[in-house]
Symmetry: C2
Subunit: 161 residues, 2 copies
C-alpha cells in the first residue's frame, strides 16, 4: 500500500481511518447493488434483518435497537416504503405510533438478498486472519468508548475538567 500520512498519526488518526474504511465499504456496496441490478441501498439490510426478526417495529424501536437517531431511521424506512419493500399501519391505541413491516415484494426478494448478504459476510470475514478476533476487539472498544468519550478522555489527560 502506498504512503499514508494518517497512519503515522497513531491513535489520533483512529477516527479518520475508521471513517475512511467504512465509507469505502459502503461505496463499494452501492456499486455492487447497481451492477447486480438491484434497487436496494447499502444500509437497508439493517431494516430487512430487523423486521425479519421482530416482524413489526416503530421508528423509535428500530432507532433504539440499531443505536441510530430516529431521523436516520425515518429516512431509511421512507425510501424503503417508497421502493415498495415496507408497509406500515398506525397503532390502534396510540395514534402517534406507526408500525412498519415487510411487504410481499420484500418477502419475495429476500431469498436473493440473503444470498448476497451471506456472500458479503463471507467476503468480509476473509479480510481477517483466522485468529484475529477483530470483531471482539471492536466490541471491547465500543464498550470502552461508551463509558467515556473522546472529549472526556482528552480533558482528563489534560488535567482540566
Amino acid at each position: 500500500m502506498q504512503y499514508d500520512f494518517v497512519n503515522e498519526l497513531g491513535y489520533l488518526g483512529l477516527a479518520v481511518r475508521l471513517k475512511r474504511l467504512s465509507d469505502a465499504m459502503v461505496h463499494s456496496g452501492r456499486q455492487m447493488y447497481k451492477e447486480l441490478g438491484l434497487d436496494i441501498e447499502p444500509n437497508w439490510f439493517l431494516i430487512f434483518r430487523l423486521l425479519k426478526k421482530y416482524n413489526q417495529l416503530s421508528v423509535t424501536e428500530m432507532a433504539s435497537k440499531l443505536h441510530f437517531s430516529h431521523p436516520s431511521v425515518i429516512t431509511m424506512v421512507g425510501k424503503m416504503e417508497k421502493a415498495g419493500y415496507l408497509n406500515s399501519t398506525l397503532d390502534k391505541s396510540d395514534s402517534r405510533k406507526k408500525h412498519f413491516f415487510l411487504s410481499a415484494k420484500a418477502e419475495e426478494n429476500l431469498p436473493r438478498f440473503e444470498e448476497i448478504w451471506q456472500a458479503g459476510t463471507e467476503g468480509v470475514k476473509k479480510l481477517f486472519s483466522e485468529d484475529s478476533n477483530f470483531l471482539n476487539l471492536l466490541e471491547a472498544l465500543e464498550v470502552q468508548y461508551s463509558q467515556k468519550d473522546f472529549k472526556e478522555r482528552t480533558l482528563n489527560e489534560l488535567g482540566n475538567e
Copy 2:
C-alpha cells in the same frame, strides 16, 4: 452496554459499526474544541501536522498523502485559510498550483493545540488493553481491503464476478 442489533450481524455490520464509532469520536472532538473555546475543527489536525512536517504543500499533494479526495482537502484548507491558520502562494513555474503553509497565527497556537492532541492520543490509547495491538490489526485490514474491495469479495463468494 445496552442491546445492539448491529452487533448481532457479525461481519456484515462492520462498516456500520466503524462509521458509528468514528462519527461519535468526531462529534465529541467538536464539542471539546467548543468547550475549550478554540476555533478549530476536528480534522484540521491532519493539515496542521502535515504542514508542520512538510512546510508547504499543494491541494493535490495533501490529498494524496492523506488518501482523501481533493475536494475534501479544498474544503478543509479553505476554512482554515479563512480562520487565519493558513496562507498560500501560487507556484512560480506552474500557475495552476497553489502552495499552502502555516500562518503566524498557526505557529503561535500550535503549542497549545499539540498539548491537546497529545492528550487526545493518550486518551484514545487508553481505550485499548495493553496487548490489543488494535492499530496493527487495523493496518492489516486496510491493506487487505485495498487489495480487494467489498463488491469484488462479495461477487467472488457468490460465484458470479
